[in-house]
Amino acid sequence: MALTREQLAQRVAQEFHDGYYVNLGIGIPTLAANYIPKDMQVMLQSENGLLGMGQFPLDEEVDADLINAGKQTVTMVPGASIFSSAESFAMIRGGHVDLTVLGAFEVDCQGNIASYMIPGKLIKGMGGAMDLVAGADNIMVTMTHASKSGASKLLAECTLPLTGKGCIKRVLTDLALMDIAEGKFILRERAPGVSVEEIAKLTEGELIIPENVLEMTL
């Protein structure tokens, strides 16, 4: 069975380590914050200028001056700090954030990512995504493995305009977890009940299948 959004978020959360500063993109990555293990501290960076983002506010706590990068009202945890956009991206570009998780339209086996534009159809802009993928060493992309019509999103070469070149090393889809190295996808884990064959069929870029492919534990 393909992973649900909640299951994707759970698997993302397994990438967290105690003491990690993490930037979570809009959508599934943001959900992962709900699955931080109780005995672990993770601090969330929001690229509009907040380190130590907390949960959504109670109705009476709502503050128009306190939002996240998705423009949602948020709160701060103890130990949070506020800074300018230049400082925020100094932090990101300088590689000080330990883990970045974000969505994409396409990823290819060269580590390229396309996530911000579908020419002629969708032009919303890259926001901070280009800086995030260029700045982080440790990036996880989350996306569906294929389109609804069954077209692979894990390509030999991205077809859409790139967000970043050669920067993605790990992709989590609803079917599998893969690393990217030396121009190939390497299958690391399969979603519970999903076969290696099914994953291979829906992966257009070259896929290495090691002898042991673990089933994800969620």
């Binding site: 959504f56 128009a64 423009k71 300018s84 919303k124 901070g128």
Partner: protein
């Protein structure tokens, strides 16, 4: 106004000298920390042919979005232009020129503009449409592109508190692009919620020194929330 007192008392005075075809650097992120009343004053003045650098273009009917209604903006330099149907329509039709710029690069271009740095290398955008036509250079085995700084004829920004000398404090994430935007404008105009007497701000707690500020005005703010998201108790 004498000495270092930057306070002006009307929005007309605040934007005196703003003319057609000028470049404006604007603070704010989404609708958070935007100079609402200065934007309204630009609409009132009817200034046209503007180039505006701002992370977003507001939403329909709010923020910089209101300057699109009468086609006052010729060109936007922005990182994210979603949430704005009029913007997309004008961009698609070619009425509005758009230079999509990564958020961190945009922030750094403003900072560099204010800091006398004409250009810098960044890995952001290498190998993407943003890097097209820009110089690529390798440092320590990685590829970087050369980005030039941004300066404006005016900058418009919003802070929380100021003293009359224009020393500024920002509040929470309404800080965002505001400090850098201010440094990058030849004439920097800042609106604030409160103006206090000189000496009332702790020199260690000032976020941006008044040297960057040319005109200061106290306003009242609507502070529209784009995504009111709450949890239940």
């Amino acid at each position: 106004m004498a000495g270092f007192d930057k306070v002006v008392t009307s929005y007309t005075e605040a934007l005196e000298g703003l003319e057609d075809n000028m470049t404006i650097i604007a603070g704010g992120f989404g609708l958070c920390g935007i100079p609402e009343n200065l934007i309204a004053e630009i609409k009132r003045r009817g200034t046209r042919g503007l180039t505006i650098a701002s992370n977003n273009a507001g939403v329909d009917g709010k923020g910089l979005g209101i300057l699109l209604e009468d086609q006052q903006i010729k060109k936007m330099i922005a990182s994210y232009v979603g949430e704005n149907a009029l913007f997309e329509a004008q961009m698609m039709s070619g009425e509005l020129e758009v230079e999509l710029t990564p958020q961190g690069t945009l922030a750094e271009k403003m900072r560099a503009g204010g800091a006398g740095i004409p250009a810098f290398f960044t890995a952001t955008g290498y190998g993407t449409p943003v890097g097209e036509g820009k110089e690529v250079r390798e440092f320590n085995g990685r590829h970087y592109i050369l980005e030039e700084s941004l300066v404006g004829d005016f900058s418009i920004a919003k802070a929380w508190k100021a003293d009359r000398y224009g020393n500024l404090m920002f509040r929470k994430t309404a800080r965002n692009f505001n400090p850098m935007a201010i440094t990058a404008g030849k004439i920097a105009v800042v609106e604030v919620e409160e103006i206090v007497e000189v000496g009332q701000l702790d020199p260690d707690e000032i976020h941006l020194p008044g040297i960057y500020v040319n005109r200061l005005i106290q306003g009242t703010f609507e502070k529209t929330i784009e995504q009111r998201t709450v949890r239940s108790a």
